[in-house]
Assembly symmetry: C2
Homo-oligomer: 163 residues x 2
């Protein structure tokens, strides 16, 4: 199983790059993982709701363009969203395993930008996955997601993985 993370903007902080890199390194024995970083749409420091929505839609359009280029028979798209299903790590592992068994070669995860995710992106995904009720910075979310993918792979092959 391969994994692709689509997100907005670069990881500026070295410690986040190092953390994500560490999980990617560990993940490499389970499959290929790659990241598509799309350009963020800057908004003024004090932005109106309309300006924020416009920026979110621009970012969303860029994500939809990437999704449009994929063979959706082979790709399964999971949007990260607080309103989605808050699977446990074991349930996520089970889901990824059954996707692989069902012929999907790549699971695509989408992390929205600092303004969140547009409804269009949410609708275009096959599934929305929640990481609980809290809001996290989208860049830290990349690290949290990488760890959970790694954890899911470990669970799927029956290896122990501590809290």
């Amino acid at each position: 199983m391969n994994f692709r993370i689509i997100c907005i903007g670069k990881l500026k902080e070295q410690y986040l790059r190092d953390a994500e890199g560490e999980y990617f390194k560990r993940l490499s024995r389970f499959g290929v993982i790659y990241v598509t970083e799309l350009k963020d749409s800057p908004v003024p420091a004090v932005a109106s709701r309309a300006e924020e929505d416009a920026a979110k839609r621009t970012e969303g359009a860029a994500i939809l363009k990437v999704l449009g280029s994929m063979n959706r028979n082979k790709h399964y798209v999971i949007a990260l969203d607080r309103g989605g299903k808050d699977l446990s790590s074991e349930e996520l592992a089970g889901k990824l395993s059954s996707l692989a068994a069902g012929g999907k070669s790549t699971v695509v995860f989408i992390i929205g930008g600092s303004l969140g995710m547009s409804d269009e992106v949410r609708s275009a995904a096959d599934y929305t996955l929640s990481f609980g009720s809290k809001t996290y910075p989208h860049r830290l979310m990349r690290v949290i997601l990488a760890e959970q993918i790694y954890r899911a792979c470990k669970i799927s092959v029956g290896e122990t993985y501590h809290k």
Copy 2:
């Protein structure tokens, strides 16, 4: 409001130390935050359930000892546990604000070790807070918690804080 995090073991990874340090630095304008790192109880690589439970109880006893030394009228103890209440970031901010208004000077957060948290510790806490259904490494949890405390403080003073 001051914050104290009680946890098991040290942060070995430099990127986690840097990430936690960054949030602590930002938090410093809201209050003092300090960490009490207790010794972990090593278990064999292949440990029996009984060995794991014994180690968890030993770690729990050390946590209880620290709690016992506190003036519980001034301290409010929140144990992090998947089975707890999965407050949103806004709800957590509201809770911390009302604790401060109610005369608590310090909120104490407890993160269990790699084997989890003993029932005794869970019972000794004033509240159990969940970060959703997923299991995270206890060291990464320190970073996730530090960010949420910082986010809660920002929300409480009415500052914007992006996703």
